[in-house]
Each structure stands twice: as C-alpha cells, then as structure tokens.
C-alpha cells in the first residue's frame, strides 16, 4: 500500500471500507504531514485535535455505507463551520466563529467526513494568487516561491501537497479551476444553482459556486456527488435530479462533439499553451470525439463584464462587515468614524479596490453605463454559449493563459493579475459547469491545465470527457516535498 497521504479519495475510501485502514490512521497521517508542511502556509485554522477525536469516534462505530467514511477533509476558509473560526482570509473576520454550518460542508459531514481544518484563501476570495490573504501567501508545492493560484490557493496547495485527500473551494471567476491548473490538480465549478451558497461567505452572489478540488477526475465525481444538493435555504438553488456521478463515470466519449472556440486563441498566448490545447484536441479525437470549430464572439467582453458585475455585488455583500455586530471593530468617536476605521483597517487593498469599483459602477449616473450595460453583455455571453451548445456537447479550452507565476510578480499590476481569469470568467458569467484537469507542463516543468465546459447541469458529461482525457494524458505531478521540515 502506498503512503496514506498520497492515496486518492477512492483508494482511501476503499481501504476504510475493506478495513485496511482506520479513520484514525488516515487522519493522523494527514495531520502529521501538515505539521511538517507549515512552510506552505495552507492552514488558517486547524481542527486537528477534534479531528482525531472524531476519527476515533468513527472507528468505534463505523458507518461504512456513507460516501466519505471517516475521511478527513480540510476546506477553504470561506465555508462557515459551526464552532470553528471562519475568516474568509480577512482581518475583519479574524475572530469570527460561526454558530452554524454551510450546507455544502454539512453534506460532507453527513457522509462521514471529518473536518481537518480551514484552508487559506485570498481575502473574501478576491485574488488569483492567494496573495491577498490577511494570513499571508501560500506556497505552491510545485516549486518554491510560486503562487498556488487563487482564490482557493490554500485548497489547491493542500491537495497537491497531500495535506488533504480532497477539498472544496469556491469559484466566482476561476477560483477553483485556475489554482487547480497551477498545481496540477483537478477542480470543478458546478452549474450555478447546483451547490447551495448557504453558509458560504459571499463574494459575488450571482457568480459564486462551491466545487470539488481533487487529485483526479474520479475523486472529483465522488465529491461532487456529495456536495451538490437542492437547498431551500438558498433561493438560487435549483431543484433537479442530480446524477450518481461516480457510478456513471465513463471513459466512453465516442461520438461526443467537442467545440474549440477560436476566440480563446488570445494574443501573446505562450506556444506551450497552444501546444497543450492541440494535444488535448488530438487526445479527444483518439477517444472518438468529434472536434468542431465554434465561435463565442463576445469572449473579449467577458473580463470587463466580470470586473463590473463581481465588484458591484461584492461592494454590497461586504457592507455587513461594519464593526457593529461581529468581527473586527476599530473604535471611533462616532458611528461614521467607527465605520471608517473598522473598514480601513479590516479590509486589505484588493478588497477595498473592488468595493470602490463596485460602489462606482452602481452609483447614480454610472449605473446605466456600467452595471446595466454589463448585465446586457452578460446575456450576450450566455447566448454565445447557448448557440454553441446547439452544435456541440462540450467545449475544450486551456484553463489559464500561463502557468503559475512567482510570488510578488503581479501584485503591483492588478490588471495583469485579472487577465489570469480570462478563460474561466466567461463560464461563471454564463452559469455553466467547467472543470480543469492537469494536461501537461511548461518549460519550467510547471503544470498546465485544460478546461472542459459543459451545458447547464451536464456535469456528468464533462466529468466523462475529463476522465477519458486524463487517461490519455497520463499526467504525473512532479512534487519533491521541498518544503517538508522535521
């Protein structure tokens, strides 16, 4: 048997069910590795003691019929966890301990999983490198001083570094898929309305979606199956019949029509990304899929549209962090002064930047030119996909326009940072499911990902295509454990 922490969720689950491993053994193995991996800075808050207690409790009376039997899982620190500090990577929630549980994490625990801890992320999920976190940046296990992507950077790093078997992140504009691509892992953003937003610290409500981040496609299907559920506590949750994703997982994609959008061939795209895409296309052909050239004409407008819609919603969603009810408060002589000090000191620069952008685009006199226009463009982007999906079953694109970059490389250039999300953002605007799978490496040996985009609620199809491609690509992450300390 291979080292516990390098096992996939599927392997761990099988080993528990076959009683080859106990929950306690597994939990302790991950904790022990985490304790040697502080350099990566993936944890904001650990739950190790309680996790061990819970694993023992599980072992004393194991329910082996559950889908995540005694499996320890760390989650992004954007999910509210009952009794465990939840910070959203922000100083303003530094001391915040929820008395409630998010629906998505509750779904994990209901299937036997155990909370290992809360993973670092960009502040309020605003960032593409995990550098905006109040709790410091996260190291990408792929290479020293390399960003793990963001905003779910702690999550991608933790999966890649074998610090959690699987994890869940959230994706507003690419926050699951981009870090997955940067760390050689798998990340799926489900259709908007699949996973409940109840109990997830909101960034941009019309775009936010939780999703699985795993080592491989099968684990991804297993985890999606658990977290995707209809929830009356979220008015945007959609009641539809969800697949038994792991059971229906298949590599047979013969005859599937896969679209290649010409607009994703952006200027200055590195050759290696172009090559990665070509390889993906030929693998898909090898699997019997039919490749069809398509056009998504409004792709160029997606990023500006996103950077109006998301900050607009964020500026309003973050108004509740005012020092009055919970979280950080900086005292003032009067209410206004208290607000100003609390929010100036409590939020980081990127969050403030987006609050200001959002406030601006919603202001009277600017609303029509920005917010309203952006909503109209969003409809056009959606329509592009609708038209494309009348011809194809799925769309294949690169996940990101580059591989992971160095820590600090883009912190002073927000626009170049935003450009990282150019291939992922349109999918959020259209509310579609998208998955990033590792598909190759660049000249530095850093991972690169391919993205498969599906029709609404067609997660099964993109999982199957990814499963088939994964087999052909046969990607191996080359991680040297350089950060480990004794």
């Amino acid at each position: 048997m291979s080292d516990i922490t390098s096992q996939s969720l599927f392997e761990l689950t099988s080993n528990i069910k076959e009683k080859k491993l106990s929950s306690e053994e597994i939990t302790k193995a991950f904790i022990s590795r985490a304790e040697k991996s502080k350099k990566l800075n993936v944890y904001v808050t650990d739950n190790f003691e309680k996790a061990i207690d819970q694993s023992k409790k599980f072992d004393s009376n194991p329910n082996l019929d559950s889908k995540l039997p005694g499996i320890p899982i760390a989650v992004k620190d954007l999910f509210c966890t009952n009794g465990v500090r939840t910070t959203a990577g922000s100083k303003i929630l530094n001391n915040f301990v929820p008395t409630y549980e998010s629906t998505v994490t509750q779904n994990l625990w209901s299937q036997g999983a155990i909370l290992l801890g809360k993973l670092n992320c960009d502040e309020f999920a605003m960032g593409s490198s995990n550098e905006t976190s109040f709790f410091g940046n996260v190291q990408n296990p792929v290479g020293e001083n390399l960003v793990p992507g963001g905003s779910s950077g702690g999550s991608s790093a933790a999966v890649a570094a074998n610090l959690t078997p699987v994890t869940i992140g959230t994706d507003t504009g690419g926050s699951i898929r981009q870090p997955a691509s940067f760390t050689g892992t798998v990340g799926l953003k489900p259709t908007y309305g699949s996973c409940s937003r109840y109990g997830i610290v909101a960034f941009a409500s019309s775009l936010d979606q939780a999703g699985p981040m795993t080592k491989n496609v099968r684990d991804c299907s297993m985890l999606l199956e658990v977290i995707s559920s209809f929830d009356q506590k979220d008015s945007t949750s959609i009641d539809y019949k969800r697949n038994y994703y792991s059971k229906e997982l298949s590599k047979d994609i013969k005859g599937k029509k896969i679209g290649i959008p010409k607009e994703y061939r952006v200027d200055n795209m590195p050759d290696e990304i172009e090559q990665l895409w070509k390889n993906g296309i030929s693998y898909a052909k090898d699997c019997g899929a039919e490749i069809i050239d398509i056009s998504l004409p409004h792709t160029n407008y997606a990023l500006p549209t996103y950077y109006i819609v998301a900050p607009a919603e964020a500026s309003s969603n973050l108004a509740r962090y005012d020092g009055v009810k919970y979280g950080f408060r900086s005292p003032g002589q009067n209410l206004i002064e208290m607000y100003e000090k609390t929010r100036s000191e409590g939020f980081g620069d990127e969050v403030k930047r987006r609050i200001m952008i959002g406030t601006y685009v919603l202001s009277s006199g600017y609303y029509d030119a920005y917010y309203l226009k952006a909503q109209k463009v969003r409809q056009l982007i959606k329509k592009d996909f609708d038209d494309a999906f009348s011809k194809v079953d799925a769309i294949l694109t690169p996940s990101t326009p580059s591989s992971a970059f160095k820590i600090g490389e883009k912190t002073n250039d927000p626009v170049s940072m935003y450009l990282n999300d150019i291939f992922t953002v349109p999918i959020n605007l259209a509310g579609l499911p998208g998955i990033s799978i590792p598909a190759g490496k660049d000249k530095n040996n850093y991972p690169l990902g391919l993205q498969v985009i599906g029709k609404p609620f067609d997660e099964q199809n993109i999982l199957n295509i990814s499963y088939a491609l994964e087999d052909k690509i046969n990607f191996k992450n080359d991680i040297s454990d350089w950060w480990l300390s004794e």
Partner: protein
C-alpha cells in the same frame, strides 16, 4: 367639489393650493418576517426575535415568506390595483447601525403592485385618490439613543419585518383629505387582515410630500418630503406648518429647496434633514440572492376569491338593502369591527333603531371611555335585545337610555334590568287615563290657559304625565289620551 370647501391658504389677495402625496409604510400582518422565520410580535424584549439572517451573519441568505407576498397581493386587490406578475427585489444600499446587511431589500423599478385607487367620502361628496404603486420591503431595526449616555443601542427585533410601502399620487389637497385617506387605507387593510393599522405600535407611518402653488396654476411647485410621521394628527400639523413655510418663502420671493425634512412635534415645525445635494445615493440594483418574483394568475384568482366585502361595497349594500343614509353607512363601514357589530345587532333587531343606537349612544360611550368597538362594554346580543324591547313597546326610548346606562356595567341583559327595576312601559289605557286625570286635576289653572288658546302648554302636560308614570308611561298613549281629554 363646491368652491367653498376647497382648502386654500390666503396671503394678501392670493390663494395658495396645497398639494400632498403620501408614502404610507404599513406593516404586513404576518407571523414571521419577510425573509426569515423570526417572529414579528410587537413588544418583545430587545433582540429576542432576531435570526442569523436578520442580523446579516456571513453566508446567510434571504428566503421569501410567501405569506407576505399574498398579503401584498390582497392589499393590491383591495386598492383596485394592477398586480404585477413579475416584480424584482432590489438592494437599497446605505450604512446605518440598525441596518445589519448594509442594505435594505426593497422593490425599486418593478414593484409587486401597480396603479390603483382609493375612494374618499368627503362631506361634500366622493373623491378618488390615485395609488401610484405598492411595494414590499424590509423594515430596519431600531436605534435607541436615550438609554446609555455614551452609546447608541440597537434592537433588531423589527429588522426584516415586512412592510408595504403604498405611494399615493399627489392627489390630496387638504389635511382633512389626508385624515380621511389614511383612515380609509387603514380600514381597507383591516378588512383584508393585511395590516393591523396600529399607529401607536408603528404599524402605520407615512412620509408626507408637500408642495404649494397659486390657485389656478397647473404646474406643481417644488416639493419637500417630511419623513416618518406616525400619527394623523401630526401629519395634519406637519402639512399645515410646511405649507405655510413654503408660502412664506414664495411670498418673500425666495425659492423652495427640494429636500427631506423632519417634523418637530413639540415646536410644530418642520426642519431640514438633508438637501437634494446631500441625498443618499442608494445604489439600487437587483438582489442577486433572490430570483425575480413571479406570480401566477391562479394565485391572483385564488386570493381574489378570498377577498371579503370591502368598505365601498359594504356601504353600497347598507344603503341599498337597509335604506341607510350615505352618512350613516359611511360611519358604520368605516371600521370592520363596527360593521361586524352592526350586522350582528341587526340580525335580530330593527335596522333603523340599531343604526341610531350604535352611532348615537354606543359611540358616545366608546368615545367617553376611549374604547374601540371591539372592547364595547355592551355586546351586540344585548344591544339587539334592548332594541327589541323598544320596538315591541315594552319600554320607551327614554327608559331605554336608563337601561343602557346600566347595561354598560358588565354587559347586563336588558330584559333582566327591566324586570328587576320594574321599568316595563305602562301601556294600559285605563292606567294612563287615571294618571292623566290626576294631572288635569292638579293643574286646573294650566288647563284653563291651554283651553284659552295657549297650545304650547301641551308639552307641559305630557311631561307631567310622564313624571306621574315615573317615566314608564307609553308616550304615544299619553299623547293620544291627553289630546282626547284636553280637546274633548
């Protein structure tokens, strides 16, 4: 409307007309809040009716309370208004300590109810007031500044309670019309059970828009909005004071600034709260946590079929069926409790007498004791018994008043009072004749005067006979026999 009933403010040879529009905030009668399951009960200990949603904890999401939607639709139907099958909840963004989300969920561009109307019964006829719209929104919490000298305290019990904002067109022209309008609106909502209209508990408050113009002008003047006035009396005072302030400015050749003002009840004047330049930019946008609200025709039809008879229809029925005067009918339908009481009384008794007794004696007692009709010391059942005693001649109207006075004390049965006190009317012609004989004997001088032509003395004899009968004599009989005796 006749000329002399117009409400005009005079200034040296000039007459100013006052234009008023109201934005009434009516608390929806519902067990739980608009987007959470917390209780809405009034008067609870501070911060005991607050859910995680109401306090805007991270990750909490609003879920619409469908009952509140139905209440708004019901009210819309009562206002004879258009129900919009699609409406949108927006966020109205501003910071305040008692606004936990940092925004209020309201309806801005697409309200649930569109244009409607309210008919006012004014002394000189009916007047129609247009309704611009009705929308649903959350109430804020309450900031309390006077408990702790150094801190403002916040009570979130009210945070998230459903309000209907009912916006009138600028059709009101006088403080009297405002009085009738508010009462009518309140009455309609109480008939429907959609708002209890309790102004003391803040269930009904209004923002009052006032402008003035010279009589005959057709353009509107610049308006000022007086925020959050919570009684009809204060609304009327505020309007008079504000209209005069504006007229004074115009008379001095000054301009009126469009602004938001507050009414200081102690000084009886309005003062500026913020000018147009300082107006909040609320940055309204559709709430992404809520889908647009879609209402089916079936739901509208179902609610329509449950709508009770409303004041206007009831008034018409009372006039047509019971032959009441429009004035009487208006009074009796003005409040659902009153009309219910009336209909209960007339189930078993005479309509005309019931109308007189309710609008006369009963209302006087309620007024004097400052009671609502629901707290009436005399039940409908006993009042109808009393009316039947008058109708069948058992007691006279005068005796009935005595009996009524006693009934007030613990809702006593009039039959028992009449029996115990021996108040039954004397209707035996022989007995009456006897006492009339006695009166004539004792007042021979007056009889002589009467016979010599002093007709007015007849009343004196009736009075004496009544007195002799200790008030129990049948008045018709006394009249008849007296006439026979004196004229015979």
């Amino acid at each position: 409307m006749s000329k002399n009933s117009e409400y005009l403010i005079e200034r040296e040879n000039k007459q100013y007309e006052v234009i008023i529009g109201l934005e009434v905030h009516a608390q929806v009668t519902s067990e739980s809040k608009l987007f959470s399951q917390s209780s809405t009960k009034f008067g609870a200990e501070p911060n005991t009716q607050v859910s995680l949603v109401d306090a805007a904890f991270p990750g909490m999401l609003p879920v619409i309370n469908e009952f509140c939607i139905e209440q708004a639709i019901k009210t819309g139907i009562g206002l004879k208004a258009k129900i919009n099958k699609k409406s949108v909840f927006d966020r109205k963004n501003y910071f305040y300590a008692d606004l936990p989300q940092g925004y209020q969920i309201s309806q801005y561009k697409y309200p649930i109810v569109g244009e409607g109307k309210v008919i006012l019964d004014m002394p000189n006829g009916q007047k129609e007031i247009g309704i611009e719209r009705l929308h649903l929104e959350q109430d804020a919490g309450k900031s309390i500044h006077d408990i702790d000298p150094n801190n403002t305290l916040v009570d979130l019990n009210r945070s998230g309670v459903a309000l209907m904002e009912i916006v009138s067109k600028p059709d009101l022209r006088s403080p009297d019309e405002v009085n009738v309008y508010i009462k009518k609106l309140r009455s309609i909502m109480r008939y429907l059970g959609t708002c209890d209209g309790n102004m003391q508990e803040g269930s009904l408050r209004a923002d009052v828009n006032v402008s003035v113009r010279l009589k005959g002008e057709t353009e509107f003047g610049t308006r000022c909005e007086i925020k959050n006035v919570n009684s009809i009396k204060f609304m009327q005072m505020a309007i008079i004071s504000e209209a005069n302030r504006q007229i004074d400015l115009l008379e001095e050749g000054k301009e009126i600034d469009q602004e938001t003002r507050l009414f200081d009840t102690k000084r009886n004047e309005t003062r500026s709260m913020r000018s147009k330049e300082d107006a909040h930019d609320y940055r309204y946008f559709p709430d992404p946590d809520l889908l647009p609200l879609e209402i089916s025709q079936e739901l509208i039809e179902k609610i329509k079929s449950d709508i009770p008879e409303l004041p206007d229809e009831k008034k018409k029925r009372f006039i047509d069926k019971f032959n009441l005067s429009p004035y009487e009918a208006t009074i009796l339908v003005s409040d659902i409790e009153t009309s219910n009481f009336f209909e209960e009384v007339i189930k078993n008794s005479d309509v005309k007498l019931a109308t007189n007794w309710i609008t006369g004696e009963l209302f006087a007692v309620l007024n004097e004791k400052n009671l609502e009709i629901s707290q009436s010391p005399v039940s409908a059942k006993n009042l109808s018994k009393l009316i039947n005693l008058i109708k069948d001649g058992t007691i006279s109207g005068k005796i009935a008043k005595t009996v009524f006075e006693q009934m007030i004390d613990g809702d006593q049965d009039p039959l028992i009072i009449v029996k115990e006190k021996g108040l039954k009317q004397e209707s035996d012609p022989k007995a009456i004749e006897e006492l009339i004989n006695k009166v004539i004997e004792n007042n021979s001088d007056k009889v002589a005067e009467y016979k010599s032509g002093k007709d007015k003395l007849f009343g004196f004899f009736v009075g004496q006979a009544m007195k002799e009968s200790k008030g129990k004599g049948n008045p018709q009989l006394i009249n008849k026999i007296l006439k026979e005796k004196l004229n015979g």
